[in-house]
Symmetry: C2
Subunit: 149 residues, 2 copies
């Protein structure tokens, strides 16, 4: 049987969030958190608007999901994020003991795999889902930014 | 000339914050951020109260200081924190480009030095300031917790 609620389905929703960040002039990264095929958090990067380096999409998603669940551990939850998490976000995911992390484009420079940040041993990781779409949006953003300055 | 506003002076203020966390049943970690000998943020761990793994003292201090300064980069700022920052907090400090980080007790298991988290190259780090006091408070907390359960 085909399950329509696969990683690609949910990553599309994270990409929609990244588009919202893009429209606001934020580095376009979006995230959602899903539990039993239900989206319980939708967030996008707001570091410029909030003037706050901690306002990455993933950080907000973790806080939002914990608030929804009424508990700080994100057991049975999956995070979908359009860009590979950084040290900070991976460190937060470590504490959350989240079950699964799915990311889109790799971040060769500052992604957690390059930086050597440890996720929780319980956490399954999948990379590269709709990576081209996420990457294209990032490139479009930085090209436009450069042309404006 | 003696400068009363040294690292020990400010770490005492961070310890006062840790005491507040202790009184609330939170793992007792406190932080302050200082710019030109002026305290612009005072925070303590609130992960239990907020049900949020991201509510470490340092994370709140970064957000609070950026809010005070009206900018997300913590240039000319010093963070004083009673316990060595974890991966998440060190990752956030990396993005903030903070000038100096002073911590009290080392966290051998989950501190950023053990975990290999990178701070910004601009950031000066000093460890071990009032380490015994910070460590004693943590020990008192965990002994009491154990006796309650």
């Amino acid at each position: 049987m085909i399950n329509p609620f696969d990683d690609t389905y949910f990553m599309k929703k994270a990409l929609q969030e990244a588009e919202l960040a893009y429209e606001k002039g934020e580095i376009p990264v979006g995230a959602i958190i899903v539990v039993k095929d239900r989206v319980i958090a939708r967030t996008h990067n707001l570091t410029e608007l909030l003037n706050d380096v901690t306002a990455h999409a993933e950080m907000q998603a973790i806080t939002s999901a914990a608030n929804f669940l009424g508990g700080k551990y994100l057991l049975n939850c999956t995070l979908y994020v359009t860009l590979e998490p950084c040290q900070m976000c991976a460190g937060a995911l470590y504490w959350s003991q989240i079950s699964k992390v799915v990311y889109g484009a790799s971040d060769i420079q500052r992604g957690f795999t390059t930086m050597g940040t440890q996720l929780h041993p319980k956490t399954e990781v999948v990379g590269g889902v709709l990576a081209e779409e996420a990457s294209a949006l990032m490139k479009r953003f930085f090209i436009e930014k450069r042309n404006l300055n």
